[in-house]
């Protein structure tokens, strides 16, 4: 194993942060100046949003189911089984919906973006695009960023809904809860701050997924092995950044809304 001096290591990491920041800045700026590639944005929306729908629905639904199943034993001890709806809806909307959807979409799309752009990089297609007078950040990165941010928001809404539905079905058919009571407590548990917290997270998570996936793609080095490495790094880094960002947004919104 090759050891790198701490100075070189720090320089390398700082360089990566600088390049990542530049990519983020340029991809955002690209959306506010012409040309904007709307057809590419819609293609990416289809690929990222519609393509991720099955895994988001399945993971959201079964997370809601298991949440109801696990929580009822604890709630029973306090005679608070009727609070199952409250627990499921708060957990899904504030935390599990956005985070799980972010992680699922990250696994599917950050890897896809890194491998697609990485393959283009190692076969000189990105250089060819620049040589043909087209900015790859504008053509490839900006559409993926805007499409992921937009679609992750709606995927999270769907995940929250099917999670609550799953919890409700388990509560009614397996735990004998009253359906009307479950939905009423679920709905009434949520206040404005909870919804804002839950809906803010996917915007940031979407941005992280797309920019990290694209960054590792466009900075791929070293042939097919490099593409594999970039793909792995994209998923790992975006997943960790999602968890860290989740904590920061939670802390901020709790500070603002008091819960």
């Amino acid at each position: 194993m090759k050891f790198v001096s701490p100075t070189e290591f720090a320089k390398d990491k700082l360089w990566s942060v600088q390049e990542y920041s530049l990519l983020c800045g340029r991809s955002i700026a690209s959306l506010f100046s012409r040309p904007v590639y709307f057809s590419d944005i819609f293609t990416q929306m289809d690929s990222i949003g519609i393509g991720s729908l099955p895994i988001v629905i399945l993971s959201g639904f079964f997370t809601g189911c298991v949440l109801a199943l696990q929580s009822v034993s604890s709630l029973k001890e306090f005679g608070a089984v009727s609070m199952t709806g409250t627990l499921v809806s708060l957990s899904m909307v504030k935390e599990l919906g956005p985070v799980l959807t972010g992680l699922m979409v990250s696994g599917r799309n950050a890897s896809g973006m890194a491998s697609e752009l990485g393959s283009m990089k190692v076969t000189e297609q990105l250089d060819a695009m620049r040589a043909l007078g087209v900015d790859p950040i504008r053509k490839l990165v900006a559409p993926r960023v805007s499409a992921t941010v937009f679609m992750l928001f709606w995927l999270t809404v769907i995940s929250d809904a099917v999670g609550m539905l799953g919890g409700g079905l388990v509560g009614v058919f397996m735990l004998g809860l009253n359906a009307h009571s479950y939905w009423r407590t679920s709905y009434r548990a949520l206040n404005y701050g909870d919804v804002v917290q839950g809906m803010t997270k996917p915007v940031f998570f979407g941005f992280i997924i797309a920019t990290v996936g694209c960054y590792f793609g466009v900075s791929t080095k070293g042939g097919t092995q490099g593409v594999g490495k970039a793909t792995t790094q994209a998923v790992v880094v975006s997943s960790v950044m999602i968890i860290v960002m989740d904590f920061l947004i939670s802390r901020l919104t709790i500070g603002i809304f008091g819960r």
């Binding site: 000189e124 297609q125 250089d127 060819a128 695009m129 040589a131 007078g133 087209v134 900015d135």
Partner: protein
């Protein structure tokens, strides 16, 4: 071609150097390419030829030195200005670099589509361009369905479709068999003699370089013909790089009559 127009510099490279980590890839490289000239860039593998071509097209910034393309300094250009400059430059990549998710027509028409050219007009120009490289039958194929030589020809068609003022060929015959290589060099020869566009061609195959210098395109027979009486093309010059430094910059005759031992060894 009027003499004064032929002497306009299209490309001026002055004291360009670049290093990757501790490896100095280009060291104080200087040369000039004039309008209508074809410069063959020779040298051993790993000598910095491809890096030089990418620097000229603004794809890599040099560590130091000046590069003027069409009279404009590109080392201080903003990204957007570079994209505008590149629209006047055609580049053929070493491994063709075709977009593998697009068919041949979309690859060749890429620049036209980006410029918003009418689809019917773009299709017509794609057909003309593919006809030039004798590949009309492959218009709807995808890159994965093409042979290496066909991919290289599509890449040439893509570079030429907008009739650029400067063409950069990065090892257009690299990795091809001798017969296919000759076909590609004939296309470059045809382009040189029909359009008189300034071009820079990297090759490590001496036979390709001297084929270009000693042949001309005969439009009557539509084939490459040897220049009579052992003549050479006046507008074809040579630049030889070794370990990042220019070891020769001059005409074909100057190259063949050079007494530099390294050059003589390289050419033998």
């Amino acid at each position: 071609m009027p003499e004064e127009k032929a002497k306009e510099p299209v490309l001026e490279v002055q004291n360009v150097s670049i290093a990757f980590d501790d490896n100095r890839v280009l060291d104080d490289v200087s040369f000039t390419l004039y309008n209508g000239e074809t410069c063959v860039l020779l040298g051993p593998a790993g000598g910095g030829k491809s890096v030089l071509l990418k620097i000229i097209n603004g794809l890599i910034p040099p560590d130091s030195g000046s590069i003027r393309v069409f009279g404009q300094e590109i080392t201080t250009m903003k990204q957007q200005e570079l994209f505008q400059m590149r629209r006047r430059v055609g580049m053929v990549f070493q491994e063709s670099a075709l977009f593998d998710s697009m068919n041949v027509e979309d690859n060749v028409a890429y620049r036209l589509n980006e410029e918003g050219v009418d689809p019917a007009e773009a299709h017509k120009r794609v057909e003309e361009s593919l006809e030039f490289v004798e590949l009309s039958q492959a218009i709807s194929k995808f890159p994965s369905e093409l042979s290496g030589g066909m991919r290289r020809r599509v890449s040439i068609a893509r570079a030429l479709i907008t009739k650029p003022d400067l063409i950069l060929y990065d090892s257009p015959t690299g990795g091809l068999d001798p017969i296919t290589s000759t076909t590609i060099v004939e296309l470059i020869l045809k382009q040189r003699d029909e359009s008189h566009t300034a071009s820079l061609m990297i090759t490590h195959r001496l036979q390709d370089a001297f084929f270009l210098a000693t042949h001309h395109w005969d439009s009557a027979t539509k084939s490459a013909q040897l220049i009579p009486d052992g003549g050479v093309d006046k507008n074809t010059k040579f630049l030889v790089l070794n370990e990042g430094r220019v070891v020769f910059d001059g005409s074909t005759l100057e190259l063949t009559h050079s007494e530099d031992p390294w050059l003589q060894n390289f050419l033998s």
